[in-house]
């Protein structure tokens, strides 16, 4: 039985309710047992566990028992502690199934690599007494990009001409961040729109969560590029558009080739919905469509095309 955290919390967190005081854990292998009121002790540092993190997707809460929202008892700052959880699982992408693996050491390595670069979440790794690499992450001071876009209440045309040029500018920087990883033979591994935050202070887009990996021998960065393609479709469209979500008269104009190569109901030929989307930008989207015969296999190629698309968008203003 781990020792009680009562004396420690009385000293370092006197405001914490005594009835919720738990134990001190120096070993985190059994992360399910660690919860609200427990303290994780790593070397000289102590972290009061407030709750398990959860991911909200498709309106559902998915608890992540190995990720703890904490208070650093020395500094008082909020921290996220990611404990070691090895898993491999099949991820379905359209009609394909890809095996993904969660790799704590990959995330630790990338955290070291990107230290001081605010295009990426920041953190450090301290092993617990069993040698588990615990990742201590800063909370990104910002809001999820997709939530910001979804919260907009304005016609698409206004969004496209007033806000989108700046969104695209920042997104190109976010793509450059991914290309920077690729140039160092690292991949993000889980490029999704809810893994990109907009910083409150600078507006910089910041990537989070680097612990996924996958083994694509012939296209090592293929899944990252696929993720970037999904995000640019979302950003251009100010949300996702499917064959079910558009009015019947629009749907009548949509062909199979206008839809995503991986998701047959997702419309990527957005010029058919918004005719003012310049061709240079729409051509980028079409590289992710059923009509495509040539695909992006290197992030710099995507960035080059997005920069041309940005010029075209600006020239239309």
């Amino acid at each position: 039985m781990p020792p009680s955290a009562r004396a420690l919390l009385a000293r370092l967190a006197p405001d914490f309710p005594a009835r919720h005081v738990g134990e001190i854990y120096t070993e985190t292998t059994e992360f399910m047992r660690i919860g609200h009121g427990d303290v994780i002790n790593l070397g000289e540092r102590h972290f009061l566990v407030l709750r398990d993190e959860a991911e909200r997707r498709f309106g559902l809460e998915d608890p992540k028992f190995w990720v703890k929202r904490c208070r650093d008892l020395q500094t008082g700052q909020r921290r996220i502690l990611k404990l070691v959880f090895h898993e491999s699982f099949p991820m379905t992408i359209g009609s394909m199934v890809v095996t993904c693996t969660r790799s704590p050491r990959k995330e630790s390595r990338i955290l070291d690599l990107v230290r001081g670069d605010d295009r990426f979440m920041q953190g450090e790794t301290i092993p617990d007494t069993a040698g588990n690499p615990v990742r201590i992450l800063d909370v990104v001071p910002g809001k999820r990009l997709d939530e910001k876009i979804e919260a907009l209440e304005m016609p698409h045309r206004d969004y496209f001409f007033e806000l989108f040029p700046e969104v695209l500018t920042h997104f190109i920087e976010a793509c450059q961040a991914i290309a920077w990883l690729h140039a160092r033979n690292e991949k993000h591994g889980d490029v999704r729109r809810d893994h990109l935050y907009v910083r409150y202070d600078s507006g910089t887009y910041t990537w989070i969560d680097f612990d996924y990996t996958f083994d694509f021998q012939d296209s090592p960065f293929g899944l990252d590029l696929f993720g970037l393609g999904n995000i640019i479709q979302f950003l251009v469209g100010m949300g996702q558009h499917t064959t079910q979500s558009v009015p019947p008269e629009v749907r009548a104009r949509i062909t199979t080739e206008d839809c995503s190569i991986m998701f047959p109901n997702r419309i990527v030929n957005l010029r058919k919905l918004f005719p003012y989307v310049p061709e240079a930008l729409n051509n980028v989207l079409l590289r992710f469509s059923m009509a495509a015969n040539v695909f992006y296999d290197a992030t710099p190629d995507l960035i080059r095309d997005l920069e041309r698309a940005l010029d075209a968008v600006r020239s239309q203003r």
């Binding site: 090895h86 491999s88 992408i93 359209g94 009609s95 394909m96 890809v98 693996t101 790799s103 050491r105 990959k106 690729h182 033979n185 990996t213 996958f214 083994d215 694509f216 021998q217 012939d218 296209s219 090592p220 960065f221 293929g222 899944l223 696929f226 190569i261 991986m262 059923m290 495509a292 040539v294 695909f295 296999d297």
Partner: protein, 162 residues
């Protein structure tokens, strides 16, 4: 274009064995041509393994298998009538391999471009590659060595064995 030098892109798969068999049939009789069977090492992703020991073990296992497959490919070409002096095998280690010994290595971001680099440096006039016959979705996500070779090849012939 040097039509007397043929480079086969080989990874030990059934498709690449078909490429060897086809080349054997084409080059086995008639004038002698230099045939090189080239394999680029593709070690598994280190992060997929819980520790370095099990990763190294798997890397070593794969190297053993590819050397045996290269030897089989050579035998296939010799059996078709090529002279031993005109058949070569080549194994290019990955820069990421924990077992690497040679200075030359493959950075592993594009097998297709590595093959074309070998062809260019060695003055090969023909590259032979097997094709898996993948769906458009698979090619989009996982890539295709044969498609990339076709797209990027310059100044040489590409034989695609499907």
């Amino acid at each position: 274009m040097n039509i007397e030098k043929i480079l086969i892109a080989f990874d030990g798969s059934e498709n690449s064995r078909r490429a060897v068999a086809y080349t054997a049939a084409m080059a086995g009789s008639g004038p002698q041509r230099l045939v090189t069977v080239a394999a680029i090492e593709r070690p598994p992703d280190r992060d997929l393994f819980p520790d370095d020991a099990s990763w190294k073990e798997e890397c070593a296992h794969r190297v053993t298998l590819i050397h045996k497959a290269l030897a089989d490919a050579r035998d296939m070409l010799l059996a078709a009538g090529l002279s031993p002096a005109w058949v070569e095998t080549r194994f290019v280690e990955s820069c990421r391999s924990p077992l690497r010994e040679s200075r030359e290595c493959s950075i592993g971001t594009s097998i297709a471009l590595e093959i074309l680099r070998l062809a260019d440096e060695g003055g090969y006039g023909t590259v032979v590659v097997g094709r898996r016959g993948v769906s458009k979705q698979e090619e989009f996500l996982f890539g295709s060595v044969s498609t990339k070779i076709i797209q990027a090849a310059k100044g040489l012939a590409v034989w695609v064995v499907a």
